[in-house]
Symmetry: C2
Subunit: 481 residues, 2 copies
């Protein structure tokens, strides 16, 4: 184990932040081999002195180096160079803006990483956009497994666009919502996120503006932002996107619309039938192609929502994304994209380079289930249970939060979009709640500006646990705000 002497100091007049200069310096010293693995670093106090910076700046830099694996800190024995060449490359990518510049991936913001991680732990998950485990239709799956166990003779790659039998079932399924299409116009994807990703890398022109509802689910993803595009939030009224507030694109600009017209996530707003026609007409006139995200299409309570935009699209202007994650099982990781054939062909081609197709096993199981006449019975029951849970959740909010929050009654989907009183600091409440094992999604991750909203899912947890979660939040609010 060698030790080192440092003669370098950060340039305090440079525009690069001091901590960033320090991480760069460490990274280069390690990547160049000057500081081989095992090298012991001077104590923090000495480093801060040498660099002429305060401890907190130094610690910011060291934390980043530890996070990417370039150095290791062991209590008692100090810091050691542990980095390999991958750590060094990782360190270069720590600069988020570089991802964006390269048209590649931005890391998930910290809050989303935290949610992804927490979601798998034993906490009260008012954040989780998934069907409740106890709504899982075991009998349907067991029947499909039994049948596959007897009939499956191999499990190889599927057709590039997805197993034909599944695409046929999906075409049949789409007729129920007014979309008449053919298997050739359908691509099976690993859920909607992959579909959005494929469209972004295959079709988005550099610098495109994506008009979308504000707030919107897609703001919480990095997928479009990473594709060198710009998300522009358009306000909603209770009929859906206020499309007339779009600044009409000039001929040169590249504009695309992304919309969740049915049970918008997170707000639950349903675009009215009339607004749908207006939006289609506006997009046609202004030559704006449309991405329609229909993840919650089948998750209605008492009344089937208006037909998707795609049902009225006779020019191929709408690319439609469906998913089985919200109405059956996210663990199948399956969705479908409906578009004109040249678009499907291109997406399929890019998709083969991405992961060589979706799980054949998942596809076979889903084809079995969609073909089962009992699927419709299951769906009706699923919606019925969900509607009851929604009503119960709302009653709980009325009981505890009538004086500190407002919301609209949802008519489908999984969420209550709740505005908290101004005195409540949502970010602080989020931190306090996670410490108490209650998880919800702060509204700001979906919005284009800070807001006072939180998204509560009534789908995943039982009504009892939902109430337990609200009780804890209520107590935290009373004690802290």
């Amino acid at each position: 184990m060698s030790t080192i002497h440092i003669n370098w100091q950060p340039d305090k007049t440079a525009s690069t932040p001091i901590y960033q200069q320090i991480t760069n310096y460490f990274q280069h010293a390690i990547a160049s081999g000057d500081w081989p693995v095992g090298t012991k670093l001077p104590a923090q106090r000495k480093l801060a002195e040498q660099f002429g910076v305060n401890r907190s700046t130094l610690i910011t830099a060291l934390d980043e180096l530890i996070a990417v694996g370039l150095i290791t800190s062991t209590p008692g024995s100090g810091m050691t160079v542990s980095g390999n060449h991958w750590s060094s490359l990782l360190a270069e990518h720590v600069n988020w803006s570089q991802y964006v510049k390269a048209g590649q991936f931005k890391p998930n913001p910290h809050a989303i990483q935290k949610i992804n991680q927490f979601e798998t732990d034993a906490v009260i998950r008012l954040s989780t956009g998934e069907p409740a485990p106890d709504q899982f239709p075991r009998a349907l799956f067991q029947k499909a497994f039994d049948h596959l166990g007897r009939s499956l003779t191999s499990l190889n790659y599927s057709e590039p666009a997805g197993i034909l039998a599944l695409r046929e079932q999906i075409a049949r399924h789409l007729v129920k919502v007014g979309i008449h299409t053919k298997p050739e116009n359908i691509l099976i994807t690993a859920g909607s996120v992959q579909a959005l990703q494929l469209v972004a890398v295959s079709l988005f022109p550099k610098g495109a503006t994506i008009y979308t509802e504000a707030p919107t689910y897609v703001k919480s993803l990095q997928v479009f932002q990473s594709a060198q595009t710009h998300l522009a939030g358009i306000p909603m009224d209770n009929q859906g996107m206020a499309y007339w507030q779009i600044t009409p694109p000039t001929d040169e600009s590249h504009a695309i619309m992304y919309t969740i017209p049915t049970f918008n996530n997170p707000t639950g707003i349903v675009m009215s039938a009339e607004r749908r026609q207006q939006v289609l007409k506006y997009a046609q006139e202004h030559r704006i192609p449309i991405l329609e995200d229909a993840a919650y299409q089948d998750v209605w309570f008492d009344q089937q929502p208006p037909q998707p935009l795609k049902a009225s699209d006779d020019s191929g202007n709408v690319i439609y994304f469906g998913s089985i994650s919200k109405s059956l099982a996210p663990g199948l990781r399956l969705g479908w994209t409906v578009a004109s054939q040249p678009v499907i062909d291109r997406l399929t081609d890019v998709r083969m380079q991405t992961d060589y197709g979706a799980s054949s096993l998942s596809q076979l199981v889903l084809a079995e289930i969609l073909a089962d006449p009992e699927y419709d019975t299951y769906q009706a029951h699923f919606r019925d249970v969900l509607a009851k849970k929604a009503a119960a959740a709302e009653a709980i909010l009325h009981h505890y939060w009538d004086d500190i929050a407002t919301w609209q009654t949802p008519t489908g989907g999984f969420y209550l979009w709740v505005r908290l009183a101004d005195r409540i600091n949502v970010q602080k409440l989020f931190d306090l709640a996670t410490a108490q094992n209650v998880l919800f999604n702060p509204g700001s991750i979906y919005d284009f500006q800070p807001n006072q909203y939180i998204r509560l899912s009534f789908s995943y947890e039982s009504t009892e646990r939902f109430e337990q979660g609200i009780k804890i939040l209520t107590q935290l609010i009373n004690e802290n705000f």
Copy 2:
């Protein structure tokens, strides 16, 4: 239906090819709304006259416009504008070089698209890198389905890095090849292609050089090329990559090594144990991180191959890619990446933005199967059958091709890498063979220069059908070369 008058002509002095100028002109006229959908185009003869170009140039341009869906040609009634706004965006992306510039996806070359498409048809598939359907272990899967049918209580998203029980099984499985790792160091991916994709977008510096065996499987993918990197082919001898022929990178350049040390695809070459140590040492000295693709690790015939590079990697310099596609079932779409924890964390984060995790169903089934004591019995039997098929395939080649081809006896993997006599035009043979429903992979898709090789898979088809395919190829060769 309106018709149009065209006053434009291509600029014959410009550096943009004439046909490209024509497609651009059409695309802009359609995208701008000047030529609405339904517009009838003048006859080809008239268009060629107006543009002052010959028919073949015009047809090149029109074919591209038809391919992306901007115009439709109906025999008898001529050409019509059929494009929607997505077709127009698609047309912009037709310019392949733009994909590369944007660090995004290059379309699969035409030959590979053709192979992907043919692979699902009823042809003799000497191209197919998959286990034979009749080697599918139905009993193992049936047992797993039965167990899941009884025990599965939900099917939601898995942990971001993959289901823990599966990562534990994989860690246990890796001990057999000398890799001692922990679940935290494993990311479950949708096969190796996705893993390579994730590494490329998460870790590759812009303009990096990827040193790899020549020929290599990865050359047939667009994944690295699309990530603004440069593939550099390094020759092999019978011990593996001739690493000393690498031009050592300067400090400034970003160099990465990609290797398939065990049963290199397509050549079947196994890197010797000694060479593995030398390559590791070389990479360490020159600070070149290594990507080790071990897709065929478990597919050996008589003798277990040397341990993976990863088994000797104590500095985290090697990222290891394993897959279940070659030894069990590609339709599960599952693979695993083993790396240091900061690398796994970053890849996991990017992966969640790509498709929100692998199929939970596939993961659960694979965890069941890997935990089944009968899995090892199946593997031994699988290898035994494969070894016999390899020997039979080689005997067939000896019978028909001793005077027109040479090859090495494979000791594992799925392929015979066959050099055809110089008089045989491989591309022409490929075209003739596909017309006769026999498919093989031309060696040039794996190489950095044209070559006289073809890759024949003995794995997928039965020995009888393999012989039938070779007979057809022999006849084509005799008649045409």
